[in-house]
Amino acid sequence: MRTNPGATGKSEGSRAQHLIFYAVIGRLGVHAAYVLLFFVVSWYTLKPSTAARCRPYLERRFPGCGGMHMLRHIWKLQWNFGLCLVDRAAAGINGRFFFAEEALEAIRGLAHGGGRRDGGLILLSAHTGARHMAQVFLAGHVGRPVHVLGVKDRGDVDREAHEHSGAEAPYSVIDPADGPMSVVRILRILRAKEILCMMGDRAFGSGATLAVNFLGEPVLLPYLAFRMSAASGAPVAVVFHLRTGVCRGETRVADVIQAPVDLKNDPEAYRPYVQRFASLLEAFTAEHPYQFFNFFNLWEK
């Protein structure tokens, strides 16, 4: 199975560069790492290949913007992305991270059925804010087993927070490369009233996408979450994760979408739900333009 064309998941920095950051966080603290990050982000902002990866999103988020203004947007997007990576490492190295609990009750209520006969919950998110720490926090506090659909790219050298201490991940990972078997696992998870986290802005596998409007132009987004919802009766909670401060995060429930259980195997039937997700993500990017970490051309024809 493949992801969207152009989306590699590969880390920008080398393994050695990441180790330098981990050492700084461990010995000097997270603020010292932010100082180092300032210079690294400034360098990457001036590096044409890295800046080019930011442009497809930023040019649509800030249409007509160019020159120094665009450079400032590129710097801010990379800065916020870097802050999230530093915070994640600090959480693993120093155990330092605070996650706001506001959305937890809502997610917990949905996960426990909310009066529905069918159980399970699909948390549909995007590459935003402190998403990695959000998954860790939810897995530890929501009171139901949490599973994450996705696999780490081989070129991604960033460590997850738990990898710093050698601990086991607090959630299980379902590899979409398992194809039909991953689908069987997901349906079992949802029937067992457990929680599945997945990304709505990145397609795994080919052909399971629909064209919807996002920031003024069509993009291909996956509809797997909504097909799973129709097959299992589990609602889809659209959630976006934010970085709100130094080693602080928050999850916001943007909407809860239930695809009708009799919705059949017709991709067109799922387009309104995928468009709803795209519209919610667009609203998120309007409010937090530098916390949507899109570094490939999602709009590529």
Binding site: P176, G179, S182, V183, V184, R188, G205, A208
Partner: protein, 84 residues
Amino acid sequence: MDIREVLKREIIKELKLEDISPEDIKEDAPLFGDGLGLDSLDAIELVVLVQRNFGVALDNAEEARQAFASLNSLAKFIESRRTP
């Protein structure tokens, strides 16, 4: 009616395999990838149609891997799990 025939008919109908007739589905050919060429989303329909038509749940990934090997394997799995 034989389970294999029901499966062929239901797979064509539910998976909208409009260019395929029941005779085209080879009973020993893989359902996914080479063979019938189904994909992950088709797996959802397959799980749902097996549950709805035969009352058999495909919950275990390892069992599903064997069951999805071919139409014959799936029919055998259903026969072994079906309550009389």
